[in-house]
């Protein structure tokens, strides 16, 4: 029920009643979205959408930092696995 998914803003306009609306693309599926709660958003930004309303702008900098932290985790925990590479020897009949 609290499902909300990230979409890319591709169009912004006011509707007849003056409500800030727009269109967002969710992996190619385009839906109408109310942008009243995200006045800072412009075309090309990613937004988090729940029941037709943008609740938040997705912060690319924060997303990048989270992934950097995960990379650090990788360096801390990844075990050095020695891989034994066996030379491939031809077993076919000699010419």
């Amino acid at each position: 029920m609290c499902l909300a998914i990230p979409g890319k803003v591709i169009e912004i306009q006011q509707d007849d009643a003056g409500v800030r609306m727009g269109k967002a693309s969710f992996g190619g599926i385009v839906k109408q979205v109310c942008l009243e709660y995200t006045p800072e958003v412009s075309c090309g930004d990613y937004i988090l959408v729940h029941v037709g309303f943008a609740l938040s702008k997705v912060d690319p900098e924060q997303a990048r930092r989270t992934y950097e932290a995960l990379d650090e985790l990788n360096q801390l925990t990844e075990l050095q696995v020695e891989t034994e590479l066996k030379p491939i020897q031809s077993s076919g009949p000699s010419p």
Partner: protein, 373 residues
């Protein structure tokens, strides 16, 4: 899809799991608050990948599940009226009231429509000026901005034939209620990421401090959830009890101010009855008096309907994290998604329905699985 696919990366998930295994030195019980998180956890089997002793119990955060039986009966009383077009999110249609569900009512001729967004109802209202359009406004804080906007615009644009049947619920009082229970087992929370997108997480700080539990604001994808678990365990192992934001790409501490402002203009806090749990003080929203002309409970005079809930299932204990769906003797037998006996089986995001959808009724010993690695 950007901001989705990278949070479902198996390699990264394994890395976080490795770190969880490294840091956890003793058993901990964590609760994910939101039904969407429960669904993801069970769908991807994340709980079964955690080391032995790290237990996830499932929280009360499925608004479809916790909408009280009496509110469903009120919805039926309104939807049955010939002048009414009753609009709802799709997942409310299957929720059983005292006398069947809204789908049954629809099959008997009631004009019940599924909408994607509450704002769509205004259009339906304008297209049907001689009918009364009612929206079943359920949900947690995540959905409140949408429902508030529909009511606000109806008043502003003078759409007189639109009203809402409000059954909004709030997360912080429900968490506090769980922690106050003498049976409580929860030692840390994965906080509701999308609720906090709207409300921020300041109101969780006194709860974390008072009950000495870490609350980690967590997203919904597998990587988000595992990261939430890691942060919570790290805090518990270090003896900390902070509110931590593990979902910063969309959640800010102050939340969405514009949304909070409109919620505050349209709704006020009230006591609310939760299905399977009972009444929790100050745990819901109702319409403010200024919006009474859009209040379906008042317009259709259904305020007095009072339904007692049957005590046949353990969903109340499941919603509080005291029991697991598999602890119930009726789970997967008398109680299943076609014939739900209680709250947690009625919606796909309910813990019992999620367990059932992913075959947990077929193998009832999840705790006996060996840890990976």
């Amino acid at each position: 899809m950007k901001y989705l696919d990278e949070y479902r990366n198996e390699e990264v998930a394994n890395r976080i799991l490795q770190e969880i295994r490294r840091e956890a030195t003793r058993p901990w019980v964590l609760m994910e608050v939101c039904g969407g998180q429960t669904h993801s956890i069970v769908k991807y089997g994340l709980d079964r990948l955690l080391p032995d002793g790290i237990e996830l119990v499932h929280g009360p955060g499925c608004p479809v599940c916790v909408t009280s039986l009496e509110m469903i009966d009120k919805a039926h009383a309104v939807a049955r009226r010939p002048e009414v077009i009753f609009c709802s999110f799709g997942d409310m249609l299957r929720v059983p009231g005292s006398k069947g569900d809204l789908l049954l009512l629809k099959s008997q001729g009631a004009d019940i429509r599924i909408v994607y967004s509450p704002i769509d109802c205004l259009k339906i209202a304008r297209q049907n000026p001689d009918r009364k359009v009612v929206f079943f406004a359920i949900g947690f804080e995540t959905t409140a901005p949408a429902n508030a906007m529909a009511v606000w615009q109806a008043k502003r644009q003078q759409v007189h034939n639109f009203s809402v049947l409000v059954s909004h619920v709030l997360v912080p009082p429900s968490i506090a209620s769980i922690l106050q229970s003498p049976l409580n087992r929860v030692q840390g929370f994965l906080g509701p990421g999308h609720v906090c997108t709207v409300m921020g997480y300041r109101e969780y700080e006194p709860i974390a401090a008072r009950f000495k539990v870490p609350i980690v604001i967590t997203g919904f994808e597998p990587i988000d959830l595992l990261q939430g678990v890691l942060c919570a365990i790290r805090q518990l192992e270090q003896g900390r009890a902070d509110v931590e934001n593990a979902y910063p790409r969309v959640v800010r501490r102050e939340g969405n101010r514009a949304a909070q402002e409109l919620i505050g203009k349209v709704f006020e806090v009230c006591d609310r009855k939760w299905r399977g749990v009972g009444s929790i003080p100050k745990s819901g929203y109702k319409l403010r008096w200024e919006f009474r002309d859009h209040d379906a409970e008042r317009i259709f005079d259904v305020k007095e309907i009072d339904t007692k809930e049957p005590s046949i299932c353990i969903s109340g204990m499941v919603l509080k994290g005291i029991k697991k769906p598999t602890d119930c003797p009726a789970f997967g037998k008398q109680c299943n998604p076609e014939h739900p006996l209680g709250a947690t089986m009625v919606s796909a995001e309910g813990a019992c329905a999620a367990y059932h959808a992913y075959g947990r009724h077929l193998a009832l010993e999840p705790k006996e699985l060996a840890p990976l690695g």
